[in-house]
């Protein structure tokens, strides 16, 4: 548990949590978060997609009095269907009058104002600014991973997270493996030295890819030609400024586990990637595969693969090799001197657990700062990988985190200019390794 990070002093500055359980250390307790005389927590949902609705449902399933009071999205139909689903599942805890349903790019500000706890589940490109606003308004926060898509975003998130800590706000990041019993048990053993020093790591998110929302569907839905901004927001997965590419949006989970195992983040990365198969008209600008080699401070290396191509070898998993054995981290199995396998009854849903833990921290006023523990660093690890595959060169951690490469639009609005625009045949510029500057 208290194993020291054995490398450069620089690392000791990192705020990685050295235990696998939630923070229990004593901290100066700030005044309670509740309005006087009432312990009902008011929740606002910012970003009403499938995951946002799911996260909100989990928040509403925690114990203690609470209610959903406000919702925000840029698309009214998404908000309405989310409201209906939540109302159907949690009738007595959903209390969102029409005037508290906010639509538009600035909707989040209004919804945040009405709540004690906010759920930030828009596409990740918006996370830094939404997080900043929520902390400015002194709210407790659940935000989905990833927490940013570029260097400037990460710097804003880190600064905001420090501010949140000062204000004693509770901040959770949706990397639910940290709340999953078998992972916690496995990591505990690794940190206790069950397989000795960990010298090599592998992580995968190889799958078939995710949804595509074609431009023609949106056009049919609207009954007119959508603006470019409307289209990119609707089909957000395929644009870096919104999604970060799938290495950031999905593979972050596996990279996060390796950082957790190593109690550190990588110092350098290099890799390769491209668009081999998934290059349809609605597949935007992102790659369909990335291979990245990450170097950790102790010189050990992580080989990381993520792929969105159908019909190939698929795996979503993490594996590490130590001086005394092997661990299938995602299979919760250790082989070697200390053979072990997690066996227990069906565990609790980690997506529920992460909300149970956050709301318990809010109600009991215990410190909760997952952004600083791992959320921001795991996000940055994934962004660094994308930078490496896009440019084809070596990227150091300092280069990556200090990157001035800002992907976000200068102005938001349905008619505003998007950071990337299609050519006459509807195609977007694609990064070219060796030529593209990515950080």
């Amino acid at each position: 548990m208290n194993k020291q990070i054995s490398t450069s002093p620089e690392l000791t500055r990192r705020s990685f949590l050295k235990t696998t359980s939630t923070l229990a250390a004593a901290a100066s307790l700030a005044p309670g978060v509740f309005a006087a005389g009432d312990d009902t927590l008011k929740v606002a949902l910012i970003g009403c997609g499938g995951r946002g609705s799911g996260a909100c449902g989990q928040a509403l399933s925690t114990s203690g009095p609470l209610k959903l009071v406000a919702m925000a999205d840029v698309f009214k139909d998404r908000l309405d269907s989310s409201y209906n689903d939540l109302k159907a599942a949690h009738a007595d805890r959903v209390d969102v009058p029409e005037e508290n349903k906010f639509i538009g790019f600035d909707a989040y500000q209004h919804a945040i104002a009405l709540a004690d706890v906010v759920i930030l589940t828009t596409p990740p490109g918006f996370r830094p600014s939404h997080f900043e606003e929520a902390v400015r308004q002194n709210k407790n926060i659940f935000m989905e991973k990833p927490v940013a898509v570029d260097g400037p975003g990460i710097r804003k998130v880190l600064a905001t997270a420090e501010e949140a800590k000062k204000k004693n706000l509770k901040v959770a990041v949706g990397l639910q493996r940290h709340h999953q019993k078998p992972y916690i048990e496995t990591l505990k053993r690794l940190h206790d030295g069950a397989i000795g020093d960990i010298v090599a790591m592998r992580a995968y998110w190889n799958g078939s890819g995710v949804w595509v929302h074609p431009r023609k569907d949106l056009e049919q839905k609207l009954g007119r030609t959508p603006t470019e901004m409307e289209y990119q927001m609707y089909n957000w997965y395929y644009f870096v400024w919104l999604c970060g590419d799938h290495i950031v949006e999905q593979h972050i989970h596996n990279l996060d586990v390796i950082n957790w195992v190593k109690q550190a983040h990588p110092v350098r990365a290099w890799g390769m990637g491209g668009r081999q198969v998934r290059k349809g008209i609605d597949n935007g600008e992102i790659f369909d595969h990335h291979y990245v080699e990450y170097e950790y401070p102790d010189g050990s290396r992580l080989s990381s693969q993520c792929r969105h191509i159908e019909g190939c070898w698929d795996s979503v998993s993490e594996h590490v090799q130590g001086t005394k054995g092997l661990c299938d981290v995602s299979g919760y199995r250790i082989k070697g001197e200390n053979d072990w396998h997690f066996s227990a009854d069906e565990g609790k849903d980690p997506y529920q657990q992460e909300h149970d833990d956050l709301f318990a921290a809010i109600r009991n006023d215990t410190p909760y700062a997952e952004t600083l523990e791992y959320g921001a660093y795991s996000t940055m690890t994934a962004i660094m990988g994308r930078m490496a595959t896009y440019c084809g060169k070596v990227v150091t951690w300092d280069d990556a985190i200090n990157s001035q490469f800002d992907t976000f639009p200068t102005v938001l609005g349905w008619d505003a200019k998007t950071p990337t625009e299609p050519n006459a045949s509807g195609r977007y510029p694609i990064p070219i390794p060796g030529k593209t500057k990515s950080f």
Binding site: G54, S81, S82, L86, Q220, S317, G413, D415
Partner: protein
């Protein structure tokens, strides 16, 4: 129309746009659209309806105070000057709030109608306003505007038609309004069961006759022709006479109508393709899925009778396995092994069509198969790293397994479906009455099955162990197999005499029966009579709301195998088999 009511309409419209495939018909059902730029606009036919349907609900004497102190219900009020810009400045649309606020960005808080509560005007409607003002904003003296609702077929008209005659006056007014707004009727919605009883009096000459003129239009349904609209208009003008004897029944609407049409097409294809008529024709066969190199093998299972359930004396027996009762089963083929990823992924990924058919055929994919709904993409990787090529497909819901059967039926022209629980046990026992089809001793289980003792924590390739007496591989162990039935621990108690082809039809999403046991299970769960019901926990880690109707995030032990009954059922029954599940939670 109150503000709240306007909001409700907008919500309802949006919901439907999102969920209904007939949105084209809903979104563009206004006569004035498109006619704008060609000729001068007419206040009565072009402008008044836009203002009445979009503006007057707020800008009227009752609500003007909280809506910019502006009324648009009379000419005097509408043209009153206001600040620097005019509300309506004849000849200058760009200086007229009534026009330019409708074309502001949707994010602009001055946009009209308010984006938070109402749908924006269509481009054509904005253009009508622009042109009207540019042409001098003619508003004949004395014309007062009132609130007019935008009639929607599914919300406003369908209930009137379903209710039937005689029609009340407000409903007549709604019908009239609907027709005046273009009479939009989404394709796919119809009243095919409309029947006219014999002996109804026929209307006098010159009058519309309900039975003769109107019922055929209602039976035909969506996508009304101009002639049909004209007929309906005349009928409404003449009082919308609807004899009380004529009832239409529920409309066959939207998605369900489309599904049923598709099943009927597939049914016709199957009747044309399936040659086997008699038990003597039933041979084992191996089929290649058209357009691919993937094959699957089917084994004939003769008709017969068996004793379902286990005796009270069976070791490790559960109470839900009794009482034993006699069951009669019709002949069918059953898939030799459980469905593999090789087969199932062809269904999951419809876009993976080969450029040229692998098997040399030209019609490599039946168009009906293309029309079958496919699973949405799973968020996580559904084989959980346990292998794909030659390994059993897992993690699908019962609904997904059902629709796979429909898809494969459309592809091949054979009728495939999941087995009922009784059919499954009949095929598993293969004439035996012991705990396992090889006897009662679990010590032999390793020769026939993958289970907790030998599976190495994962499923294994299909077809490696010894088959059961009827030639079915992995009938127990490796992966559980979906059946069609709802799980009910007391289901067997009702049977005292021999029952033919029992099927406990589902009325709720959980529990549904899986059979056979899996790589995770101990020996007793692999007994022929052992039953298991699905639970909501099988989708526990689906992080979305609503959860997927296609994938199970927490059931790495559930797969399925298909059967093909010798007797091809009518289309309605096929529909029931393929939509047996109640997946929506």
């Amino acid at each position: 129309m109150t503000f709240a009511w306007a909001l409700f309409i907008f919500n309802a419209l949006n919901m439907r746009l999102f969920k209904c495939c007939a949105l084209g018909a809903l979104a563009s059902g206004f006569v004035l659209a498109g006619a704008a730029a060609a000729k001068p606009v007419d206040f009565f036919t072009d402008v008044k309806p836009i203002l009445e349907m979009n503006c007057v609900s707020c800008h009227n004497p009752q609500h003007a105070e909280e809506n910019g102190k502006y009324r648009i219900d009379t000419k005097e009020e509408a043209f009153k000057p206001h600040k620097k810009d005019q509300r309506i400045s004849p000849g200058h649309p760009d200086d007229s709030e009534v026009y330019y606020q409708t074309v502001l960005p949707l994010t602009d808080e001055s946009h009209m109608p308010p984006t938070k509560s109402q749908a924006p005007l269509t481009k054509e409607e904005c253009e009508v306003l622009r042109q009207w003002i540019a042409e001098g904003a003619n508003w004949p003296d004395g014309v007062t505007l009132t609130v007019v609702m935008r009639v929607q077929f599914i919300r406003d008209i369908e209930p009137i038609l379903e209710h039937g005659g005689p029609i009340a006056d407000p409903a007549k007014e709604t019908l009239r309004l609907w027709l005046s707004q273009g009479g939009a009727w989404p394709a796919g919605v119809s009243f095919p069961s409309a029947k006219v009883p014999a002996g109804l009096p026929v209307a006098p000459a010159g009058q519309m006759d309900f039975a003769r003129d109107v019922v055929p239009i209602l039976a035909h349904g969506g996508g009304l022709s101009d002639a049909a609209k004209e007929t309906l208009s005349k009928w409404v003008d003449q009082g919308a006479v609807w004899p009380a004897e004529v009832k239409l029944g529920a409309a066959k609407g939207g998605a369900q109508a489309k599904d049923m049409d598709l099943v009927e097409q597939i049914h016709r294809e199957i009747l044309g393709t399936s040659k086997e008529q008699a038990v003597a024709d039933m041979k084992a066969f191996t089929n290649t899925i058209p357009g691919t190199a993937v094959t699957y093998a089917m084994v004939p299972i003769a008709a017969g009778e068996f004793l379902m359930g286990s005796p009270a004396t069976e070791a490790k027996r559960n109470a839900d396995e009794g009482p034993q009762h006699r069951v009669k089963i019709e002949p069918f083929w059953m898939e030799k092994c459980s469905v593999t990823w090789d087969e199932y992924e062809l269904f999951m990924y419809p876009q993976d069509k080969p450029e040229t058919p692998a098997d040399g055929t030209t019609n490599y994919m039946a168009p009906e198969a293309d029309a079958v709904t496919r699973p949405t993409k799973p968020y996580v990787e559904m084989s959980f790293g346990m292998g794909k090529d030659g390994y059993p497909a897992i993690s699908m819901t019962q609904h997904a397994a059902n629709i796979y059967c429909q898809w494969l039926s459309a592809k091949t022209g054979h009728f495939y479906r999941l087995p009922t629980e009784a059919e499954w046990e009949y095929a598993c026992r293969a004439g035996t009455t012991t705990a396992y089809f090889f006897g009662d001793d679990p010590a032999q289980l390793g020769d026939y099955a993958w289970f907790a003792d030998n599976s190495n924590f994962k499923y294994q390739k299909v077809g490696q162990k010894k088959p059961n007496p009827w030639g079915l591989y992995d009938m127990i162990g490796n992966v559980d197999q979906w059946t069609l039935d709802q799980y009910d621990p007391n289901y067997y108690k009702q049977f005292s005499e021999t029952v033919t082809e029992p099927w406990n039809k589902s009325t709720k999403p959980y529990p549904q029966v899986v059979r056979g046991g899996s790589w995770q299970d101990d020996a007793d769960k692999l007994r022929s009579a052992c039953r298991r019901g699905s639970t909501a926990a099988w989708k526990m880690q689906d992080p979305q709301l609503p959860k997927s109707i296609w994938f199970l995030t927490d059931a790495q032990f559930v797969g399925f195998r298909i059967i093909r009954p010798l007797q091809v059922p009518p289309a309605e029954e096929m529909y029931k088999y393929w939509h047996s599940g109640v997946e929506k939670e």
